[in-house]
């Protein structure tokens, strides 16, 4: 059997964050693969919502984005932003929001808007779209991204979507939901301290050294004395991922 890839550990870790019966707003890519894996294993009654207005789709071909008709296939409801982001997310019935990030800082604040080049020139990216809405309103927020020093700075270059700005509590800031709970990277899983709201190391993926993670993280991070290992995907999870969920390696490759 082929060696387990970091992407497979990531989506399995993402899937384990989901409970059966939960409602999840998800973007395409690894977050969606994690949700489908959860639905195919321990959480068959997971509800997947796409901001564009799609509920519980059952695609048979791999979509390239939310605007791809492939992701509309065999949905049980087609609506729009007002329904998904308004009558579900803003309404408070979305348990989990899965996000990607250009940068995320030690307080879980996310940047998807712009980076400053060394020359001082700003470079714009995708902006918020539903990202700020999900980060502001979902019950829990889970971020999946690559582990690079520049992507995990002490403070984001632009605070697009709030985690715990200034290390303050969500409630004091007027935000709904519990905010970011996990950052799942290709090296480790991070959590957030309930008191300081700072990112902490929860587990290292098998084979990854603590020093590697510390060097590739832009902020200082609490680490437990003995760092647990992130569980590997089970053989059944690997089979599902490789044979059924993403056989063409569109996301896992």
């Amino acid at each position: 059997m082929e060696a387990v890839r970091a992407t497979e550990i990531m989506v399995a870790a993402g899937a384990r964050e989901l409970r059966d019966g939960q409602t999840v707003v998800v973007g395409l890519g690894l977050p969606q693969v994690a949700c489908v894996l959860a639905r195919r294993t321990h959480a068959p009654a997971l509800s997947l919502l796409l901001e564009i207005g799609v509920t519980n789709m059952n695609p048979v071909d791999t979509p390239i984005g939310l605007a791809d008709s492939r992701i509309f296939y065999r949905a049980t409801c087609w609506s729009g932003f007002l329904d998904i982001l308004g009558m579900n997310l803003h309404r408070g019935v979305v348990d989990v929001g899965f996000l990607g990030a250009l940068e995320i800082d030690r307080f879980g604040n996310i940047n998807t808007t712009l980076l400053k080049e060394d020359s001082g020139k700003l470079r714009y990216f995708n902006g918020s779209a539903g990202g700020n809405d999900v980060a502001s309103l979902a019950g829990r927020v889970i971020v999946i991204m690559r582990h690079e020093k520049r992507k995990l700075p002490t403070a984001v270059a632009h605070l697009t979507s709030p985690g715990f700005p200034g290390g303050r509590s969500r409630k004091d800031l007027g935000l709904r939901g519990e905010g970011p709970q996990r950052i799942i990277t290709d090296k480790a899983v991070l959590g957030f301290d309930r008191g300081t709201h700072q990112a902490t190391l929860l587990s290292l993926h098998p084979g990854v050294e603590l020093q590697d993670v510390i060097e590739n993280t832009g902020f200082r991070m609490e680490t437990p004395k003995t760092v647990p290992a992130t569980p590997l995907p089970t053989p059944e999870e690997l089979r599902l991922l490789r044979e059924e969920i993403d056989p063409k390696n569109v996301y896992l490759g």
């Binding site: 395409l28 796409l50 901001e51 564009i52 207005g53 799609v54 048979v60 071909d61 390239i64 984005g65 939310l66 605007a67 791809d68 008709s69 492939r70 509309f72 296939y73 087609w78 609506s79 729009g80 932003f81 007002l82 982001l85 308004g86 997310l89 803003h90 998807t112 808007t113 020139k121 700003l122 470079r123 714009y124 990216f125 995708n126 902006g127 918020s128 779209a129 539903g130 990202g131 700020n132 809405d133 502001s136 309103l137 632009h158 605070l159 697009t160 979507s161 709030p162 700005p165 800031l173 007027g174 935000l175 709904r176």
Partner: protein, 301 residues
């Protein structure tokens, strides 16, 4: 009811420079390409464009220099890459960009559609998105407020009422009753918030067809000013149930627009160098290519 079918040339003639236009596209799906091209051919200037999640339609208009202001929630061309023209215009400051979020733009349209001049939201709070709106050119459009009933913190936003809303639909009758297949993103609120609605339809159907499933009418005739009948009018973006996006053409587009010096070349070839949408479709591959991307009956793509 009157026949509202018009040519895209006539419909676009009625849109003055400086108009605020709401565009119905989302990334690479149901973009109002036929109208965007004609707006470029007629060299419209100083447009304000609004959209929840931008698409190729907005990127084209910004790239062609028609736009002076954007009111948007963000966006990209999905896996085809970023919206290069839009991002560059924000970097250069050649376009004034009011950057919101998907839901906050949708709520602003909803307020406009309901005729309420403001609407509260819990998004934006404690973000730099809000800071930039409050301390930038959108300062007059957002306020902070506590709910008088619950004492919760809210951001109040001003309603959006575009001058014209442009929406691409699969099916409309000659009076303007429109039905959309697949998810509708912000199209209903966006259209109904606007002073004028112009739709582009893949197919013109008799009113009797509309009457068979009136629950699917997203925009009713009495709100619609003009119906443009243009098959493949959203090409190279996808129209669910009609055709898929053309990945080859989208790659070609991105290859051009990612380099500022090649934007003009794309526009010269496919927009300014074409007489009309049929001519553009011919240049983009014509009948054979359109048949290749045509949707399969069951899958819808």
């Amino acid at each position: 009811m009157p026949d509202k079918v018009k040519t895209v040339v006539d419909a676009v003639r009625g849109i003055p420079d400086g108009s605020h236009i709401a565009l119905g596209g989302f990334a690479v799906a149901r973009n109002v390409i036929a109208v965007a091209h004609e707006l470029i051919r007629q060299q419209k200037k100083n447009l304000t464009l609004s959209q929840c999640v931008v698409g190729m339609d907005t990127d084209l208009l910004v790239g062609a220099g028609c736009v002076s202001r954007l009111i948007i929630g963000g966006g990209s061309l999905d896996r085809f890459g970023p919206v290069h023209c839009i991002n560059r215009a924000r970097e250069d400051g050649t376009v004034e960009s009011h950057d919101y979020t998907s839901l906050s733009i949708c709520f602003r349209y909803l307020a406009g559609a309901l005729g309420i001049s403001f609407i509260p939201i819990k998004s934006l709070i404690a973000s730099e998105v809000l800071d930039r709106l409050e301390h930038g050119p959108a300062a007059a459009d957002v306020r902070r407020m506590k709910c008088p009933f619950t004492d919760e913190d809210y951001i109040l936003m001003k309603a959006l009422n575009p001058d014209v809303s442009l929406v691409h639909v699969q099916v409309a009758d000659r009076e303007g009753n429109c039905q959309i297949e697949g998810p509708r993103w912000e199209n209903e609120e966006q259209a109904k918030s606007a002073r004028r609605i112009i739709v582009v339809t893949e197919e013109l159907v008799p009113t009797e067809y509309i009457q068979r499933s009136p629950e699917r009418t997203v925009i009713p005739a009495h709100r619609v000013e003009a119906v443009i009948h243009q098959p493949f009018g959203a090409y190279p973006t996808a129209v669910f149930g009609c055709y898929d996006f053309d990945d080859a053409h989208l790659k070609l587009y991105v290859e051009h627009v990612k380099r500022p010096d090649r934007v003009k070349q794309y526009l010269d070839t496919f927009v300014l160098g074409t007489k009309n949408h049929w001519d553009y479709l011919e240049k983009a591959g014509g009948l054979k290519r359109m048949e290749e991307i045509k949707a399969e009956r069951v899958l819808g793509y």
